[in-house]
Amino acid sequence: MKKAYDVIIIGGGIVGCAVAFELAKRGRSDILLIDKEYLSSGATGRCGAGIRQQWGSMLNATLAVESTHIFETLEDYTGYDRSCGLNQSGYLLLAYTEKEWEQFQENLAVQHSLGVDSFTVGLDENIYQYVPHINTAGLYGATFCQKDGHADPFHCTFAYAQGAKKMGVDILTYTHVDQILAEQGKVKGVLTDQGEFSANTIINCAGGWAPGLAAQVGDEIPVFPERHQIMVTEPVAPLGADGKYMPMVMSFSRKFYVQQTPHGSLIMGIGETEPISFNINSTWQFLEKCSKVVTDTLPALKELRIVRQWAGHYDMSPDRSPVIEFSPHAEGLVTICGFSGHGFMVAPRTAILVANALCGEDDSIDIKMFASSRFQSGKLLLEPSVV
C-alpha cells in the first residue's frame, strides 16, 4: 500500500466521501480516505435521513436546495449501480404559536427567493390531504414542500465512495488516526494504528471527533458531540393521503419529527437537552417520551409497534451552522464539522464548496464565513428553524 498521498481525508461519513468525490472529479484524485470503522459508521449512518429545503437562513436554504438537486440524480452523478433511496414525500412543518408562524412567513420568503415550492397549508380540510391522521389541536399554521423527503444515508455515502474509488481514491477502513503530524506550521501526514501516511493536505471530516484531532495542532473549534436518539416502527402500508407515504411531520416548538420511509417504517425523534458527551447508549426513557410527544400530534401511531432504537451524535456548533476551518496553526489542514444535526442533507453542496476552494475554483458561496473566528467576531450564521 502507498504511504504518500496528495490528500488524506479523515472520516468516511457522507462529508468525507463527498469531499473525496468532488476533489477527484476536479483532478485531485491522489487521495487516501481513512475511517476508524466502516463507511457511514458514525453520525451519517445514525441520522434521521431527512432531506429538507424549508430552512430559515438564506445560507442553510441555499446549501439544502442545491444539495437536494444533487440527491435527485445522485446515482447518475456518482455512477452508483444501486438506489440511493430518495423519496420526496414532503415535509409538513407545524407552527404552534403566533411567533413561530411569523417566523415561518419569513422562512417562506427566503425559500421562495431560491425557487423552493413551499407553501402554507390551511388547517381546515386542506391539511388532511397531506397528513390524514393529524390532530390539529393547538396548531397555529403549517407549511409544506413536496420536494423535501428522505434518502438512504448508507447508500448515498457508498455512492460517493464508489464514485471516488473509480477515479483512483484509496479507502482504508478499520484504521484509527491517532495523530495529525505537523512540522514548522505545515501538515506532514497522519499517524494511524496501521502506520504513518504522508500528505500535503489533510481534510478532517471526523464529525464529533474532528475538534479533538484539530486541537492536536492547536486549533480551537468550539464544536461538541451531543447524543440524539431515534426509534423506528414496523413497516406499514402508506399512511399519507392517496396511498402515498406519510410526509415528514415536524415541529420546532414541540421538538419532534416523524416520517414514513419508503420501506414503510416510521422513523422519529425528539429534541432533548443532553450533556456534551460521546455517549450513544439508548434509553428506555426516550422510547416513552418520544412516543408521548409524537402521538399527541399523531394519535393514530399508537397502534404501531416500535421494533428498534439507536442513537448518534450531533456535532453541535454555537450557532448550529457548520464550521469550515483552514487551520491557522498548520497549513494544509482543513476541518469540516459542526453540522449540528443536519449534515447529511447539506453534505453534497458543502463538499463542492470545499473542493472548489482547495482547487482554486470560484464558488458563489464565500467559504470564509464558515471559519470559527465568527464566534469571536460575532458574525454568526444563525438558523431559526431546527429541532
Partner: protein
C-alpha cells in the same frame, strides 16, 4: 445452504444477497445490515444474525465468536407506541 435460501425472513434477504455484500467488501454484520437490511425487521436478527456470522467466519477464516455482533438494544420484542406513551404519562403523574 442454497443461494436462494432466505436468511433474514423479516426483510426477505437471501444468502446470495449476503454473499454479494461480503464480496463488495463488507466485513461485519453491521455493514451487511446497512447494505441489505438483514436484521432490521421485527425479530431484530434473532435468526439471521447467527447465519450471517457463520458466512462471515467461513469467508474470513475466523471463528464465529470473533465476528463482531451488532449492538443489542431494547425493545426485546416490538412494543406498541401507545403502550409506551401511556407509560410516560403514568410516570409523569407519579412525579407530580
Amino acid at each position: 445452504m442454497a443461494d436462494q435460501t432466505i436468511v433474514c425472513r423479516c426483510e426477505d434477504v437471501t444468502r446470495e444477497d449476503i454473499l454479494a455484500a461480503i464480496n463488495a467488501g463488507c466485513r461485519t454484520l453491521d455493514e451487511i445490515k446497512r447494505v441489505t437490511r438483514a436484521g432490521m425487521g421485527p425479530c431484530q436478527g434473532r435468526t439471521c444474525r447467527n447465519l450471517i456470522a457463520q458466512e462471515l467466519a467461513k469467508i474470513y477464516g475466523i471463528s464465529v465468536e470473533d465476528v463482531l455482533m451488532p449492538t443489542f438494544r431494547a425493545p426485546v420484542e416490538p412494543v406498541k407506541v401507545g403502550v409506551l406513551a401511556q407509560a410516560y404519562q403514568e410516570e409523569e403523574g407519579e412525579n407530580k
